[in-house]
C-alpha cells in the first residue's frame, strides 16, 4: 500500500467554554490516500467539521488542538508547524470549500480578484497573470461567460455560480487535497448534482484527493470511495462505500441507513433514531451511543468500545463485533422518547 497523502493520528480538539470543556474531536485517526475520495458522514455536532478545520489549523480560541495530535502531510506534522508554514499550505497544498457560498465571498471585491488572490499570495503572480489564470480556472468549473462573470460581485451571481467560484479558488494551485464541507447543502437539488459532478470531474483532471464531509448519505453514495462515520467526536465505523451501504455494522450507521426515505417505498412515519446526541462537555462513559442503541447491554456501559476489525478495510466501534448474536434481540432504547424527532 502506498503511503497515505494525509494521516491523522489521535486528533483531539477541545473547546474551553464557560459551561465546561467540549471535546468536539476526541481521538480520531484516519488516512487519506492520493487521488481518493474519502467521505465523512455524521449528524451536526459529531465533530466532522471541527476535524476538517483542525487539519488546516483554523481552530480559534477558546478552541485548541491538544498536544499529542498528529496530522502528517507531505512529511510534516501540521499540528506543530509554525504559522508561516501552515499559511504556505492553506490554499496551496490543501484547500477547503464551505457550505455557504454567499457569505464565504467578500461582498466588496470582484469575484475574479478573489480567485486571483490565491495565485498572488502563493505563486507571487502579478495582477494580470493571476487574473488570467483565475478566468481560466473559472472556465474549467463550467462557469458560462467566465471573463464577464469574473468582473462581477458576489451578490450578482446565483448560488451555484458562487460555489463554482469557491471551487475555482480552491483548485487554483492544484492542491493535493481538497476538503469539501457540506458543499451542496445550501444549493438547490438540481444544482447539487451539477456541483458534485464538477468536483469529481476536476478531481480526475487534476488528480487531487477529496475529503467530502456531509450529513447526506446520498452525496456519500455518489462521490466517496471510502467512508468514515463519526459520532460524538469519534470514528464509529469505516468501510469502502459499497460495503458500508450493503453491510453496515455499527447500530448508528444502521439507524442512518434506515432513516433515509426511499422513493416508491410507502411509509407512514419516517424512521428515526430516538434520543439526541449527548453534550460534548459530558460524553457518557462506555459507548457513547449506548442509550439510543437497540442492542446495548451491560458491557456497553462498562467498557468504551475500541475499533474492532470487521472485514477487510472495515472497522467498527461496537461490541457487537464480539457478541454478534445480540443483534437478534433488539430492545427498546434506554432514552425516553418525548415525541421529538432526533437529528
Amino acid at each position: 500500500m502506498t503511503a497515505p497523502l494525509l494521516s491523522i493520528r489521535d486528533l483531539h480538539t477541545s473547546f474551553y467554554t464557560e459551561s465546561g470543556v467540549a471535546r468536539a474531536v476526541d481521538g480520531v485517526s484516519f488516512d487519506i490516500g492520493a487521488g481518493e475520495t474519502l467521505g465523512i458522514v455524521g449528524e451536526s455536532g459529531c465533530g466532522k467539521s471541527v476535524t476538517a478545520l483542525s487539519i488546516l489549523r483554523l481552530i480559534q480560541p477558546p478552541g485548541r488542538i491538544e498536544t499529542g495530535s498528529v496530522i502528517e502531510f507531505e512529511g510534516k506534522n501540521l499540528v506543530t508547524l509554525d504559522d508561516a508554514d501552515i499559511r504556505d499550505i492553506r490554499g496551496n497544498r490543501i484547500s477547503m470549500i464551505f457550505q455557504e457560498p454567499m457569505s464565504a465571498l467578500n461582498p466588496v471585491f470582484m469575484v475574479g480578484d478573489q480567485v486571483a488572490e490565491v495565485a498572488r499570495v502563493h505563486a507571487g503572480m502579478g495582477r494580470r497573470d493571476a487574473w488570467e489564470r483565475a478566468v481560466e480556472m473559472l472556465e474549467l468549473t463550467g462557469m458560462p461567460d467566465a471573463e464577464a462573470r469574473a468582473r462581477q460581485y458576489p451578490h450578482q451571481l446565483s448560488g451555484g455560480m458562487r460555489q463554482r467560484v469557491l471551487i475555482a479558488m480552491a483548485l487554483m494551485m492544484k492542491p493535493a487535497l481538497v476538503i469539501a464541507d457540506e458543499p451542496t447543502t445550501a444549493l438547490d437539488v438540481t444544482i447539487q448534482a451539477q456541483i458534485l459532478d464538477l468536483l469529481l470531474d476536476l478531481q480526475k483532471k487534476i488528480g487531487t484527493s477529496i475529503l467530502m464531509i456531509t450529513h447526506d448519505l446520498g452525496v456519500i453514495a455518489e462521490t466517496a470511495s471510502r467512508v468514515i462515520v463519526m459520532y460524538a467526536g469519534e470514528v464509529v465505523e469505516q468501510a469502502e462505500v459499497d460495503e458500508l451501504f450493503a453491510k453496515p455494522h455499527h447500530p448508528y450507521t444502521e439507524g442512518l441507513m434506515h432513516s433515509m426515505p426511499h422513493i416508491g417505498h410507502d411509509q407512514e412515519r419516517l424512521n428515526v433514531i430516538p434520543g439526541t446526541v449527548p453534550a460534548p462537555t459530558e460524553w457518557p462513559t462506555g459507548c457513547r451511543f449506548r442509550e439510543r442503541c437497540p442492542y446495548s447491554w451491560d458491557l456497553c456501559e462498562r467498557e468504551h468500545p475500541p475499533l474492532y476489525q470487521i472485514g477487510s478495510g472495515h472497522i467498527s466501534r461496537c461490541h457487537l463485533a464480539i457478541e454478534p448474536e445480540r443483534r437478534n434481540n433488539p430492545h427498546p432504547p434506554l432514552v425516553v422518547e418525548a415525541g421529538a424527532a432526533a437529528a
Binding site: 488546516l56 483554523l58 499559511r87 504556505d88 499550505i89 492553506r90 490554499g91 496551496n92 484547500s95 477547503m96 464551505f98 455557504e100 457569505s103 464565504a104 465571498l105 467578500n106 461582498p107 466588496v108 471585491f109 478573489q114 488572490e117 490565491v118 499570495v121 502563493h122 460581485y153 451578490h155 469557491l166 479558488m169
Partner: protein, 322 residues
C-alpha cells in the same frame, strides 16, 4: 446613480426650507423686537432699513412676512449685521472659507488618525495597548470641546509656547513674508486649532471603526481569506477594513454637527476668523440677524455633509451601485 443624487438634492432642499421656517418661527416668537437695534438706530442708513423692511416686512400680516422671508433667503439675503455694519452675507461669506478650511483639515485628519488607531487596537486585541487606547478614546470622547481647546491653548501657547496664540496669520509680520514664509505662518496658526479638533473627533472615529472591524471579523469571508493563506495583518487591511469602512462613511455625515459645534468653540478660543468666531461675537453684541444667518448656513453645511456621505456610500458599496 444620478437619479439618487437628484433625489437627495431635492430632499436637502426640503430640509433647508423647513429650517428656514424654524428660524422664522424663532425670530418671531422672541419677546421684544430683535431688530429694534437696527431699525431704531439713527446711524443705520435708510437703504438698509428699507432692505430690512422688504426682507422681513415688519408691519405686514404674518404669512406675508413668511413669504418675504423665504424669498429673500432664496436670493441669498441674510439680513443686516449691525455690529459689523455690513450685510450678514458679506460677514459670513468672508468668514466661511476659514471655517471650511479648519473643518476640512479636521475631518481628514480625524478620520485618518481614528482609523489608524482602530487598526492598531484590533490587531493587538485584548492587549494593554488596546485597553489603554480604548480608555484614551473614551476620555477624549467625553471631554467638552471647549475645555480641551482651553487646555490646549494654555499648554501650547503659554506654558510651552510652541504655537501662536491666535488668529489665522501673524497680524504684523505676515505681509512681509515671502511665499514660503506665509505658508508656514498659516500652517503654524492652523496647527493648534486643527489638532484640537482632530484629537476630539478621532476618538469618535476610532471607537466606531473598532466596533465595525470587530463586527466584520467573524464573517465567513474572513475565514475564506485565512484559508487562502493570507497573514493576519493582510486579512485585516485588505478584507476586513474594506468592509468595515462602509459604516464609517456614514459617520462622515453624522459627524458634521459635532464637528461644526467643536469648530465654533475652537474658533472662539483661538480667535480663528471663521463663522463660529463671528457668531460667538454676535452673541455678545446681540446681533441677532448674524446669529440667525449662522444657524441657517450651519444647517446647510450639515445637510450637504450628510448628502456627501450618502453619495460616497453609494459609490463605495458595490451592492448599491446598480
Amino acid at each position: 446613480m444620478l437619479r439618487y443624487i437628484a433625489q437627495r438634492l431635492v430632499q436637502a432642499a426640503v430640509i433647508v426650507a423647513i429650517v428656514a421656517t424654524i428660524t422664522f418661527a424663532l425670530i418671531h416668537l422672541a419677546p421684544g423686537d430683535p431688530f429694534s437695534a437696527v431699525m431704531d438706530n439713527p446711524d443705520v442708513s435708510e437703504t438698509v432699513r428699507q432692505t430690512m423692511r422688504a426682507q422681513y416686512g415688519f408691519d405686514r400680516p404674518l404669512p406675508e412676512q413668511f413669504v418675504r422671508y423665504v424669498s429673500s433667503l432664496a436670493h441669498g439675503q441674510l439680513g443686516w449685521s449691525f455690529s459689523h455694519e455690513r450685510p450678514v452675507r458679506e460677514v459670513l461669506g468672508s468668514a466661511l472659507p476659514n471655517t471650511l478650511l479648519l473643518m476640512g483639515v479636521a475631518l481628514l485628519g480625524s478620520f485618518a488618525f481614528g482609523i489608524l488607531i482602530a487598526l492598531i487596537q484590533v490587531s493587538r486585541r485584548g492587549s494593554v495597548t488596546d485597553h489603554v487606547l480604548s480608555a484614551l478614546s473614551l476620555f477624549f470622547f467625553s471631554m467638552p470641546d471647549f475645555w480641551l481647546a482651553i487646555l490646549a491653548f494654555l499648554t501650547f501657547t503659554y506654558w510651552l509656547p510652541i504655537f501662536p496664540s491666535g488668529g489665522a496669520v501673524d497680524p504684523v509680520m505676515h505681509e512681509y513674508l515671502g511665499l514660503g514664509g506665509r505658508i508656514v505662518d498659516r500652517l503654524r496658526h492652523l496647527a493648534l486649532p486643527a489638532l484640537t479638533l482632530i484629537l476630539l473627533a478621532s476618538a469618535v472615529v476610532a471607537r466606531y471603526q473598532r466596533a465595525a472591524l470587530l463586527d466584520v471579523l467573524p464573517a465567513d469571508y474572513i475565514r475564506t481569506a485565512r484559508l487562502k493563506g493570507l497573514t493576519e495583518p493582510e486579512i485585516l487591511r485588505r478584507h476586513a477594513l474594506r468592509n468595515a469602512l462602509l459604516p464609517i462613511i456614514t459617520l462622515v455625515g453624522l459627524s458634521f454637527p459635532a464637528l461644526l459645534t467643536g469648530t465654533f468653540f475652537v474658533e472662539k478660543i483661538f480667535a480663528w476668523p471663521g463663522m463660529g468666531y463671528a457668531v460667538v461675537l454676535a452673541i455678545g453684541t446681540r446681533d441677532y440677524p448674524l446669529v440667525v444667518g449662522g444657524v441657517i448656513i450651519g444647517s446647510i453645511l450639515v445637510t450637504l455633509g450628510s448628502l456627501l456621505s450618502d453619495v460616497l456610500y453609494a459609490l463605495a458599496d458595490p451592492r448599491l451601485r446598480r
